[in-house]
């Protein structure tokens, strides 16, 4: 299943679109297959490596390999019961634990006799580790144990490939002593030449570091007749667009607490996938999966960077084994920036042609990007819009920095920016309104391709008719503008994600599964879907997640968690209810299938008075709780969403400072499970993309290749004063089933903001971030 196209086929075969009308299926298949066809091998590798793979570990893929799960029995489908809880606004059940500090994150876990660990890392972007001397560390008060992370005799593993690459690690009785001990480790490096800049690597001016080359050309994608397309063009453009590298900056750093009991390991991991973390630990340590238990009750953000277990997880487990004591290893903020992943850069040199009536006739792009020391940097291009005649050649550029990891909608924010800026430049060429120009070049409208409708609705709601042509001509230094951009994302569900339901004779309900909460409100979703099926309130359900002992479920990535887990939860709950109805039916003198669960009662369908309260009904269960298990099944979920965002910005052309004043986000995600938390995902996506547009930037020293802002005071992120008014219009498409919403809202904001800035100042900044310096520079070039 390592082959991307095999996996794609498996996904296709998994029957996401089963259970809907042939029309819907047709349109979704067309839509779903198109981006894949357009992908270069490099892109596919990027997705593979990045696990856009929708966040699945290798073993997830193996597990998910069964291509054809049986379609869901209609009696379990969403429409089989009235939605009394699903689709409402339910406050997070774990909100009180989080606001009171009672919620225990991995960072908060303390074990008896626990030691603290620290990793010794390379300060150089490329070097050979000649020797490591741990003796200094051993003399530090409180020192307990240490290890060298790499085999120095092996010429391959002795080489560090980026600043922050792991060299050694220590454990001591306190964190302060661990820091002292790490400082006392003496490492001798032979500094090697490094590839620091993408431009010099592309120009062949960089040292040859990577095998076979610093630049890896991907397949060229072609369609139609490019020459004819340019022939048909009334206007052409020839521009280069680019986006920068950003890092995830999870508020809780990556890390683990490891505790051994003989040959069995319990690991508290800040992870987006307890099951994949378990598999990574087992394979990395060479022990059976059954000997590893991973727990993650609360985790402080992941955004894709915690789908895989980093080297620190294995280091922590090894130190704990060596020391014979529990060890905590949480990375610090600098390490977070350097080694726990980033969003790859992107660039596209685009030549495009447009006909006089506003159809894009030709698109010819050379694209590239860097995902660091050996990782790909793919992104979709052109993004969403249809161009019949097109060519796209992509190159991955390797430089000596930490490796990329999937970051909230991998590839899409880059593809969006690089495409949408071009869209407005082309629209201006033919003097068309950007909304109308987009509508002309979009794929046909479909349930998973609603951009036309959303563009029209949004334009009306946002006051788009008040938008002036490119360049605000009002006097004064403050210029105002509007921009628009669109997005798509797959999401969707798949198994295995096995939920286990228990109903006790006291009426208690447990829903248990090996999922985890990345911050989207998964615990609440588990309780909501269960309560909805059983006619209860969410507070009557005990959701249990975040532990590999609770069974197999996927990682929280790719906006797949809601869609992957909710079918199994619902089916398990309904199966348990069937068993309960069997016990209740004799008392009511009816057949079990005549009973329904509504409003905290089990009663005869259409005769609410003939029934029992939930508590009375459950008294008939007896000492052995009712249990039922169920996996994801096709028919209750689908894939691919669409969204549109409008932004308004003010730019001070004297200072170059941008202030985004308003954002309108229209977004669908299939069946909305929790309106409240789904909206929160939209707010978060918009704000994340605002950071991408204006503030955050991984800045490397041009000479040393070291990151100059590995902290949170110079790596800028928006504060409350920077956040605009955000209006969310969530489209509930209940008939499509659950899809997922974590990623799509973070795709288009940056492009919409950049276009609002362009509309305001009358010149185009073609690279992110939109720093004041860059805006002033672009303005001065115009003058």
């Amino acid at each position: 299943m390592a082959n991307p196209s095999d996996r794609a086929a498996a996904r296709e075969g998994a029957g996401e679109s089963e259970g809907r009308s042939p029309d819907q299926r047709g349109s979704e298949r067309a839509e779903a297959s198109e981006p894949r066809e357009r992908r270069t091998p490099a892109e596919r590798r990027a997705r593979e490596g990045a696990g856009e793979s929708e966040g699945r570990s290798p073993s997830d893929q193996q597990r998910g390999g069964a291509p054809q799960a049986p379609p869901v029995d209609p009696k379990y489908n969403w429409s089989s019961t009235p939605k009394t809880v699903v689709g409402t606004r339910v406050k997070r059940l774990d909100g009180p634990d989080k606001v009171s500090g009672r919620a225990k994150y991995t960072f908060d876990v303390t074990r008896p006799g626990m030691l603290y660990a620290r990793v010794v890392r390379s300060p150089y972007p490329h070097a050979r580790v000649v020797s490591v001397d741990l003796s200094g560390a051993e003399r530090v008060p409180g020192f307990k144990t240490a290890l060298v992370h790499r085999d120095l005799k092996d010429p391959k593993t002795a080489v560090v490939m980026y600043q922050g690459d792991e060299v050694a690690a220590v454990a001591a009785d306190t964190e302060e002593h661990a820091i002292d001990a790490a400082r006392a480790v003496k490492v001798e490096y032979e500094v090697l030449p490094a590839v620091i800049s993408v431009d010099s690597a592309l120009a062949g001016r960089a040292p040859e570091v990577f095998t076979p080359a610093n630049v890896r050309a991907g397949r060229t994608d072609e369609a139609g007749d490019l020459a004819a397309g340019f022939q048909a063009a009334a206007f052409t453009i020839d521009e280069t667009y680019s986006t920068h590298v950003i890092t995830h900056v999870c508020m809780e750093s990556h890390g683990t607490v490891s505790e051994w009991d003989g040959d069995k390991l319990t690991a508290w991991v800040s992870t987006q996938g307890v099951n994949s973390a378990r598999d990574n630990l087992a394979s990395g340590l060479g022990i059976p999966q059954t000997n590893v238990r991973v727990i993650c009750q609360y985790m402080g953000g992941g955004f894709g960077s915690k789908l895989q277990l980093g080297p620190e997880g294995l280091i922590c487990a090894r130190l704990a084994k060596q020391a014979g004591a529990p060890v905590k290893l949480m990375l610090d903020r600098k390490e977070e920036h350097l080694v726990t992943g980033n969003r790859p850069s992107s660039a596209a040199h685009v030549k495009a042609g447009v006909s006089a009536d506003g159809i894009i006739t030709a698109f010819d792009a050379e694209s590239w990007g860097t995902g660091g020391a050996g990782a790909a940097a793919g992104f979709p291009l052109p993004y969403i819009y249809q161009v019949a005649n097109r060519r796209r050649a992509h190159k991955d550029v390797f430089i000596n920095t930490g490796l990329q990891r999937p970051m909230r909608a991998p590839g899409h924010p880059q593809g969006s920016f690089n495409t949408e800026i071009m869209m407005d430049e082309l629209a201006d060429k033919v003097k068309m309104d950007p909304v109308e120009f987009r509508i002309k070049n979009l794929p046909p409208e479909a349930p998973n391709a609603m951009w036309r409708s959303y563009l029209r609705e949004g334009a009306e709601a946002f006051g788009w008719s008040k938008r002036h042509a490119t360049g605000d001509t009002t006097p004064g230094s403050i210029k105002t503008g509007m921009g628009v951009a669109i997005c798509t994302w797959g999401g969707g569900g798949r198994g295995p994600s096995v939920a286990h339901c228990e109903i006790g004779s006291d009426g208690s309900v447990i829903m248990r599964l090996g999922s985890q909460d990345i911050g989207t409100g998964q615990r609440t979703l588990v309780a909501m879907v269960t309560a909805d099926a059983l006619g209860l309130q969410p507070s009557q359900v005990t959701p249990e997640i975040g532990d590999t002992q609770y069974g197999v479920s996927g990682g929280s990535g790719g906006s797949t968690t809601a869609a992957s887990t909710s079918p199994g939860i619902r089916i398990a709950a309904l199966k348990a209810l069937e068993a309960l109805n069997e016990k209740v039916a004799p008392a009511l003198g009816v057949a079990a299938d005549a009973l329904v669960a509504r409003g905290g009662r089990i009663h005869v369908k259409d005769t609410p008075s003939k029934g029992l309260s939930w508590a009375e009904a459950c008294k008939r269960i007896g000492p052995q709780p009712i249990t039922a298990d169920a996996d994801w099944q096709p028919g209750m979920t689908s894939a691919t969403t669409s969204g549109v965002q409008f932004a308004e910005a003010k730019v001070d052309i004297k200072t170059g400072i941008v202030r985004v004043t308003r954002v309108l986000a229209i977004q669908d995600c299939g069946l909305v499970v929790n309106q409240l938390t789904a909206e929160s995902q939209c707010y978060g996506g918009v704000i994340g993309s605002l950071n991408f547009a204006l503030y955050e930037d991984r800045i490397l020293d041009r000479r040393t290749g070291q990151m100059v802002n590995p902290n949170m005071e110079w790596y800028l992120l928006a504060g409350m004063s920077d956040v605009p008014q955000i209006d969310i219009r969530l489209k509930n498409m209940a008939e499509r089933g659950v899809i997922g919403i974590g990623e799509p809202p973070t795709v288009p904001t940056a492009a919409a903001v950049a276009l609002a800035v362009r509309n305001a100042i009358g010149v185009t900044v073609r690279s992110l971030p939109l720093t004041p310096a860059k805006i002033l520079q672009t303005l001065s070039q115009k003058a």
């Binding site: 009180p96 500090g101 960072f107 302060e176 402080g300 308003r662 978060g684 955000i726």
Partner: protein
């Protein structure tokens, strides 16, 4: 003296501005402990007895003088409610209230706050009853992963104790020293505004889109 968050002119952004302008303003960093005109009166480096008044209880610790308030409480007293995000006084996840003022506990030495009243998020609720600010965060979904939330809650409590009828502008300025990566700001604003008794019909940017001078935006170094 602890490092204060709520000194006039010391928000995250104004701090950056100050540094960007070429130096750290006097009064932002207090004198180092034990240093006076006569010279260094050193304590440590080994553990020294430190007594802290935390959430109304006396906590006696033997810690090295270099241990921060945050680490002392998190790693020596299992008071893990307040979080460590950046460890450099930039993200605000560690925000505590010391003698009525909000401080970055990651950048405050424990030894330096003896004799002061320290409040952490762990002690904010009375039993099962949440503080109104905590309840408002839950009601408005002003949290996602929740890791920054304790700091936001404490910063909000500190702000509202000082300004019970905080204006939207005061709320935004008062919470600018806290960072949330999930992007909860809009709803944090709503939550705090709802407690300030001013209602919360608007989201974070609406009221002052034009009121705030543009040069108050985030500055680049």
């Amino acid at each position: 003296m602890p490092r204060r968050k709520d000194e006039p002119g010391f928000s995250r952004r104004s701090f950056l501005k100050t540094v960007g302008a070429g130096g750290v303003a006097a009064g932002v960093f207090a004198k180092a402990p034990g240093v006076d005109a006569q010279g260094v009166n050193a304590v440590g480096p080994g553990p020294v007895p430190v007594t802290l008044n935390v959430n109304g209880k006396l906590l006696r610790l033997e810690i090295e003088p270099r241990v921060t308030l945050l680490d002392a409480l998190r790693m020596r007293a299992d008071l893990t409610g307040n979080k460590r995000g950046c460890d450099r006084g930039a993200c605000g996840a560690c925000t505590m209230i010391v003698d009525g003022r909000t401080v970055y506990a990651c950048s405050t030495l424990a030894i330096d706050v003896q004799g002061k009243k320290i409040r952490t998020v762990d002690g904010l609720a009375s039993g099962a009853t949440l503080h109104p600010v905590q309840q408002a965060f839950c009601d408005k979904d002003a949290l996602m992963c929740g890791f920054c939330t304790p700091g936001f809650v404490m910063a909000s409590v500190g702000l509202l104790e000082k300004h019970p009828n905080a204006t939207p502008e005061q709320i935004k300025k008062g919470l600018d020293g806290n960072i949330c990566r999930c992007g909860t700001f809009s709803r944090v604003f709503e939550a705090v505004a709802s407690v300030s008794g001013r209602g919360a019909r608007t989201s974070a940017g609406e009221l002052d889109a034009d009121a705030t001078p543009l040069n108050e935006g985030v500055q680049r170094g």
